[in-house]
């Protein structure tokens, strides 16, 4: 039985960073002041210790950006009631992913109405890592996980890394969003294209040919106004090549040969036409391109089938397939990851323990992870669950009866860890601009990466 610690975590100030050689920018100063303000205001929140509930009826306040999570957690209640000493009810608040963090911080400062459990979409979570906000507000799952034999080793590091800071785990991810290559099975066959290229270089060769002969693209990158998506297109390849935007200490590691190589590949694809620019992955132009059979392949996370393909081109059911992405011949990983949502629990609240146990029963048991895949389509975050025989036998009608776990299991062991930083939004702003300049040919890939790194350091003050 899962028994989280009742001990309250004591506040320890974060390790001071080495002094920056540059004077802080105006933006950095303003942000620092704002951060101090929030931190000071949050100080009161972290110190209001309360007696935790240990059993009985409990209504958990759940905040999430997706109704599907609400449905999933509601259906998780019977199992949670069986596995714990609590009888659960849920009270759900829905809001946009970035709005949830804004709302959480405002409520925490006002000391009113903070939730018991909250889902942090990957792009929204970095704001919680500023200063000691996460430490003051969120429960560290480290001890909880350590108390279940074998669990810590079983949890995929690729999915704990993005929600960790200073060795503390603040979110349990809902997915292992491996990056795969979705492709139009029927059109690949018709045009005589190989389904699984070994390397991106090989992919580029037949991609160029396919575009020349049939006017189709085998991948798409975002060039629209959504900077997160612009960076996402690049980051998937960059991470796969073995690089990362940040290291685990939140230091920028963008400026690297791997980044230039990944960007060079995209620029080559755009010029040759086998990669097509789209305004965003989910909008009208992408849908139109899919419907017309102009985009016959997309390199994206596994959840793109559910949110990108199935709702937009339902009539293409059975015509799509999924393959492991090609690799970079110079090295790197078999795949990368993109997206995810980590659920956190607010600490020092009467329901903190109840919420942690609920989350454990809904997210971390073997049965819960299998059920989550069947109900939400999200991949397990425990390595052992990938050996589940029922999962391995699962077929996917939208993917023409393909067994998706054949692909997932082949990729799983080589998924890189991705680290985030509270300054992620600054990087996304500057990097997106530089990427677009490189796509247009205004900057070389190498220069674009250097400029993005320099602009980030200038604006973030580190």
């Amino acid at each position: 039985m899962f028994t989280p610690s009742r001990h309250l975590h004591l506040y320890r100030p974060p390790t001071p960073r080495s002094p920056s050689p540059r004077p802080p920018s105006r933006r950095a100063l303003l942000r620092g002041a704002a951060g101090l303000g929030v931190t000071a205001a949050l100080a009161a929140c972290g110190q209001g210790a309360t007696t935790p509930r240990t059993s009985g009826d409990v209504t958990l306040a759940l905040w999430t950006h997706d109704q599907n999570y609400e449905k999933f957690f509601t259906r998780s209640i019977p199992a949670a009631d069986r596995l714990t000493d609590f009888a659960y009810r849920l009270s759900t608040t829905l809001a946009g992913a970035p709005d949830l963090v804004t709302k959480l911080l405002a409520q925490a400062v006002a000391e009113r109405g903070v939730p018991d459990m909250v889902g942090f979409e990957m792009s929204a979570f970095p704001r919680m890592l500023r200063g000691d906000i996460a430490e003051r507000l969120l429960r560290d799952f480290g001890e909880d996980v350590a108390k279940v034999p074998g669990l810590k080793e079983d949890l995929l590091p690729a999915r704990t890394a993005p929600f960790s800071k200073d060795g503390k785990l603040y979110g349990l991810d809902s997915d292992t969003p491996l990056v795969v290559h979705y492709y139009r099975r029927d059109l690949f066959e018709k045009y005589g294209l190989p389904v699984a290229a070994d390397t991106w270089e090989e992919f580029a060769k037949f991609g160029e040919r396919a575009h020349r002969k049939h006017d189709v693209a085998l991948n798409a990158v975002v060039t629209g106004p959504d900077v997160n998506q612009v960076v996402q297109s690049f980051q998937m390849l960059f991470n796969q090549r073995g690089g990362g935007l940040f290291d685990k200490d939140q230091n920028l590691t963008l400026d690297s040969p791997e980044a230039a190589e990944a960007l060079e590949f995209i620029c080559r694809g755009l010029r040759a036409g086998f990669i097509t620019p789209v305004s965003d992955y989910f909008g009208g132009p992408m849908q139109a391109a899919l419907k017309q059979g102009k985009v016959i392949g997309v390199l994206m996370a596994t959840w793109f089938k559910i949110y990108g393909l199935m709702p937009n081109v339902p009539e293409q059911k059975g015509r799509w397939g999924m393959a492991a992405p090609p690799r970079f011949s110079a090295g790197g990983h078999a795949t990368s990851t993109s997206g995810g949502t980590g659920f956190g629990v607010l600490r020092d609240k009467p329901n903190s323990r109840a919420a942690a146990e609920f989350l454990h029963s809904a997210y971390l048991t073997h049965e819960a992870q299998v059920r989550r895949f069947h109900e939400l389509g999200y991949l397990p975050t425990r390595a052992s669950v990938y050996k589940d025989k029922a999962l391995l036998r699962t077929t996917d009608a939208y993917l023409g009866g393909q067994r998706p776990f054949d692909v997932y299991t082949a990729l799983l062991d080589d998924a890189p860890r991705v680290y985030v930083s509270p300054d992620q939004s600054i990087l996304n702003d500057v990097l997106a601009g530089c990427l677009l300049s490189a796509y247009r040919g205004d900057l070389t890939p190498r220069a674009a990466i250097r400029k993005a790194a320099a602009d980030f350091r200038d604006q973030a003050g580190r």
């Binding site: 608040t93 946009g96 709005d99 709302k103 009113r112 939730p115 997160n228 132009p285």
Partner: protein
């Protein structure tokens, strides 16, 4: 030798053509939204694009009204916006009247403070305002949703300007001589004279409150108390964009705003043109 071109004859068609193009440009998004609201999600971005939905469906509206608490969102928005409008129009008129026609200590200072508050973005005062309301026990949604709109600096300034220009002191003096109370003068003399600008301010205030997103987001956690912008936003998240429902909801949501504009357009135009033409 050819006849000279009659410029005045050409002017009208040119004007109508230009206006027609502009009309199309401005209404195209609305037409697309209306068309999309009757389409299935997979058909919204169909190729080639069709303005007339085929097949047309009411399923989006049905889904909004049966599977989402759209009715409650709508009611909440309408009631809050209406209350905020009525209260704010009255408060702005009263405050504007005070600034325009009375002398009191600190008037210039207070007016300066009020005026300078125009430059402060709402996002800056969001959290302090929320904390104040919570700490003073006034954080209940019905009350707090209206509070930020009841005394907008822009509205007070607008009323003050209008009263200075359009309400002569002589009328007020005459009313005082007739024995009217100060509030009676405001209610019976000043308010009727302000009708056009009250209409303009009312429309502006209604739209401000009706479209407000950030404040309800922070304030309301119970989804049954969501306002329309907040509710519609839950249908439109980054990777799961329910365009069909959002378009249907947007079409319904825009109706009250159009209705308010249609009903008050005369006052709105009069109010906005006050002072624009030299008398």
């Amino acid at each position: 030798m050819s006849a000279p071109v009659n410029v005045t004859v050409l002017r009208r068609p040119l004007l109508y053509t230009t206006l027609g193009v502009l009309l199309l440009a401005f209404t195209a998004p609305l037409l697309w939204a209306v068309s999309g609201s009757f389409k299935r999600r997979g058909d919204i971005f169909g190729y080639p694009p069709k303005l007339i939905p085929s097949p047309a469906t009411l399923a989006n509206f049905r889904s909004l009204l049966t599977e989402q608490p759209f009715g409650r969102w709508f009611l909440m928005s309408a009631v809050v916006a209406l209350l905020a409008t009525v209260v704010s129009v009255f408060v702005c008129a009263l405050a504007g009247y005070g600034f325009a026609k009375f002398r009191f200590a600190g008037k210039r200072f207070l007016f300066g403070v009020m005026f300078s508050s125009l430059s402060i973005p709402f996002a800056v005062i969001l959290v302090p305002l929320f904390v104040i309301l919570v700490k003073t026990g006034l954080g209940s949604p019905w009350f707090a949703l209206i509070v930020p709109w009841v005394a907008p600096a822009f509205g007070i300034f607008m009323m003050q300007q209008y009263i200075v220009q359009s309400v002569p002191d002589e009328i007020l003096e005459a009313a005082r001589i007739d024995g009217a109370s100060e509030f009676g003068i405001f209610r019976r003399v000043v308010l009727p004279l302000l009708r056009p600008s009250l209409g303009a301010l009312g429309v502006w205030q209604f739209l401000q409150s009706y479209n407000s997103f950030l404040w309800p987001l922070v304030l309301v956690s119970d989804s049954s108390q969501y306002t329309l912008p907040l509710g519609l936003q839950t249908l439109f998240r980054a990777e799961n964009r329910q365009y069909d429902l959002v378009l249907a909801g947007s079409v319904l949501a825009v109706l009250p705003a159009v209705l308010v504009f249609v009903l008050l357009r005369k006052q709105l135009l009069e109010g906005l043109s006050t002072g624009a033409v030299k008398g």
